[in-house]
């Protein structure tokens, strides 16, 4: 029963993929309505199964392994296709299926009337299958299937509008950059197998302490490379902003709520290894903190509504890495969950804005929308408040916990970077809010004419997510108080590492919460001053600080630097190879061809004049002999009989002669 239900969780979306995929291949035997019902219905069933599994895990929090079948084996290696169900998996399951379900429902409204409606849902469900395998796998190989599967679906969905060159390029970029991280992850799996002879989580973690320091650090660093690629951290973050070329529900599901958090999940899952490699862990924290601030500063000046949110995602993922780096794994997962709520909400409501404005994404052409699309405005406001750190909303609890841990663990520089990033976050998110919804309307006339609120099927998921964004943080404080909520108690069996002694720093924790709250509010107020009270102020500041502004607007020229450092040399190498090909290899091929031609002509001459004449002699000889011998054949039976008798007589006489010579 338990095994069956656990197996059903990824199986439901897989069945929907098969059904809808076959429908597309067979030329649409059933309508779009059935296709989307299958899609979100399967996710709903998975969600219900996940809730049941959560209930079982609450009763028995010990990790339970469900082996579906033995996948492959040979020598010392045995890989099972199996699932590991523990509190961490349960949390991820609920986030993935719950948020995934809401986004699927939203997509029904958002994607209505698009070409390839069914194809979209096939990819989305395939993504859900991969993501579920990723979080449920009981060994690194199953994790890797999910890891590559989500990467593939990310590629397919970014390139959903494949007839648009920019979308196709963004998809390729995401795929190639992810490949770098995947190579690191694959090396980590090889190292783990080489040193421990197993790829099962529980075996690896139990025996991790027997590894020497170098091996542990090497494994931790290789895993980190994988996590950096998937979670868009420095220096491999460049694909995520470009990934906004995909439809908005894709950005919400894959590039905000679930797939990009896979790196954080993977590090938390492997915290037994990271705890033994403090150098690698510190690097995780440093990368996270620097990325958080770096991406937040870029977001300050971006003008595309989705790109601001994309850089915000990179920044928030950096905060999660920071939490891992200071050993606050529970805080990282807590922020992962709340971030899934409010970032999905922000992306989906941004999608609702884009939907209302007939595809307009530039916030310089928005403004004054708050009374035109009031429901979208309401949920966007809640999402902004949650991410900016307004007290008692979900983002406030989790972000404060991360920064508090960074401070109490003595990483003051990391804390300062994170706090600055939090300030920038509050600023750019409220800037986004003001430019989109308040002030004068800067809409194009045509766009304003078609302005409309989104349908209920899109608004309803937004309301649920808004509710979660408001109250979602309470799971971290109720019932045990700060850092001792249900969430922390539930995860404690998985994450037994010492993550700071909360009780000893109670007063300090409250002071720090106060500080970060002030920082968040200051960021909001600054944006209020710039974009509400003195709308001319940003331009003045922009002119005064033109250098810094240009630097940020061009995203520190990182894309250009990568282009010049890797892409252009790659292209130059290709051109060089082409030249070698044409000058060297092609010439050689042509020379060989000419030699062959010549020898062919020679052998043709020999054939004509020598071999043919020889053959003709044989032919004419045969012809002549045949002309003589055919006279024997008269066609008359008695001639043949006479020849037969004559031949017989001759034969008998010859034998007699022979015997006589023998002397018999």
């Amino acid at each position: 029963m338990y095994e069956l239900i656990v197996t059903l969780i990824p199986l439901f979306p897989l069945l929907a993929v098969l059904a809808n995929g076959l429908n597309v291949l067979a030329g649409y035997r059933y309508s779009h309505d059935i296709a989307h019902r299958l899609a979100w219905g399967s996710i709903l069933l998975s969600f219900l199964c996940s809730v049941w599994v959560l209930g079982q895990t609450l009763a028995h929090p010990d990790p339970r392994t469900v082996i579906v079948y033995r996948w492959f084996f040979g020598g010392d290696l045995t890989v099972n296709f199996g699932f590991l169900i523990d509190p961490l998996t349960c949390i991820m399951l609920l986030v993935v299926t719950g948020v995934g379900f809401l986004i699927h429902v939203y997509s029904v409204g958002y994607m209505q009337g698009e070409d390839g409606f069914t194809r979209f849902f096939v990819y989305m469900n395939l993504f859900m299958v991969s993501m579920l395998l990723l979080v449920m796998g009981n060994n690194y190989v199953v994790l890797f299937i999910g890891w590559e599967g989500v990467g593939l679906c990310s590629y397919l969905l970014i390139g959903y509008y494949y007839d648009r060159v920019s979308a196709a390029q963004a998809a390729t970029k995401a795929f190639v950059v992810n490949r770098i991280g995947d190579a690191g992850f694959l090396m980590a799996i090889f190292l783990i197998f080489a040193h421990l002879g197993t790829v099962d989580y529980l075996d690896v973690f139990a025996r991790a302490a027997t590894l020497d320091q170098t091996a542990t650090t090497a494994i931790a660093l290789c895993l980190l490379i994988g996590a950096i690629g998937k979670s868009a951290q420095l220096p491999l973050y460049t694909w995520l902003p470009d990934a906004m070329e995909g439809p908005t529900p894709v950005s919400a599901l894959i590039h905000a709520a679930t797939m990009v958090t896979a790196g954080v999940y993977m590090i938390v899952r492997n915290h037994a290894i990271y705890d033994l490699a403090p150098d690698a862990l510190l690097l995780v924290g440093v990368i996270g903190a620097v990325t958080a601030l770096f991406a937040a500063t870029i977001a300050l000046v971006q003008t595309d509504i989705k790109r601001v949110l994309a850089y915000s995602t990179v920044s928030q993922l950096g905060l999660m890495f920071l939490a891992c780096g200071v050993g606050a794994y529970t805080a990282a997962i807590f922020h992962l969950v709340t971030h899934a709520f409010f970032k999905a909400l922000l992306f989906l409501s941004a999608g609702s804005v884009i939907h209302a404005l007939s595809g307009e994404q530039d916030i310089r052409k928005m403004g004054g929308l708050w009374d035109k699309i009031p429901k979208t405005h309401g949920v966007f406001l809640i999402g902004t408040a949650a991410i900016a750190g307004v007290p008692f909303l979900s983002g406030w609890w989790s972000k404060d916990e991360i920064l508090g841990h960074a401070f109490t663990q003595g990483h003051y520089v990391l804390w300062a970077l994170g706090a600055t990033a939090a300030f920038c976050t509050a600023f750019y998110m409220s800037r986004l809010l003001y430019l989109t919804f308040y002030g004068e309307s800067r809409l194009d006339h045509e766009v304003a004419h078609h302005l409309h609120e989104s349908p209920t099927v899109m608004i309803a998921p937004l309301l649920v997510l808004a509710l979660l964004s408001v109250v979602g943080g309470l799971i971290g404080v109720i019932p045990g108080g700060l850092e001792n909520g249900w969430f922390h108690q539930f995860l404690r069996p998985v994450i037994h590492a010492a993550t700071g002694n909360g009780a000893a720093h109670d007063e300090l924790a409250y002071v720090l919460m106060g500080v970060t709250t002030v920082i968040g509010v200051a960021g909001w107020l600054l944006a209020h001053y710039f974009y509400k009270l003195k709308p001319e102020q940003p331009d003045l500041l922009m002119n005064r600080m033109r250098g810094a502004y240009t630097l940020l607007l061009n995203k520190y020229w990182v894309d250009e630097a990568y282009d010049n450092a890797f892409v252009e040399p790659g292209k130059a190498l290709g051109r060089g190879c082409d030249r070698v090909d044409q000058a060297g290899i092609d010439r050689a091929v042509v020379a060989v061809e000419q030699v062959t031609d010549l020898s062919g002509a020679g052998s043709t001459w020999i054939e004509k004049h020598v071999i043919y004449s020889g053959l003709n002699v044989v032919g004419y000889g045969n012809h002549l002999a045949a002309r003589l011998l055919r006279r024997l054949q008269s066609g008359l039976v008695h001639h043949y009989a006479a020849i037969l008798v004559g031949g017989f007589v001759v034969l008998v006489n010859l034998i007699a002669l022979f015997l006589w010579f023998q002397g018999l």
């Binding site: 055919r630 054949q633 008269s634 066609g635 008359l636 008695h638």
Partner: protein, 100 residues
């Protein structure tokens, strides 16, 4: 007791009779009959030698020859009828189809 050489002599006379019939007669049916005479000459020879050597192998061989002679006669007569219908001829020298 008739000596075996007498049987061989009868067999040889019959065989030569049949052979001459095959070579000199023109009528198709007579030629067929001559072939039968030659086959029976061979049969007498087989049976006589088999008796002389006290072996049944020759007698069994003679039975086979009789069976084959029956088949050969059936096929031969069928060919004669087909040729007769096609060319209205029963003389062998009017038929020269057996060439290149």
């Amino acid at each position: 007791m008739v000596p075996v050489s007498a049987y061989v002599m009868v067999s040889a006379i019959l065989f030569v009779t049949g052979l001459i019939g095959v070579l000199v007669r023109r009528n198709f049916i007579i030629v067929m009959m001559s072939v039968e005479i030659m086959l029976n000459a061979a049969n007498i020879n087989l049976v006589a030698i088999a008796y002389h050597l006290d072996s049944v192998a020759g007698q069994i061989m003679a039975l086979f020859v009789i069976a084959i002679a029956a088949g050969e006669a059936a096929v031969g007569l069928a060919i004669i009828i087909v040729v007769f219908r096609g060319k209205l001829a029963t003389n062998v020298d009017q038929i020269n189809l057996l060439k290149w």
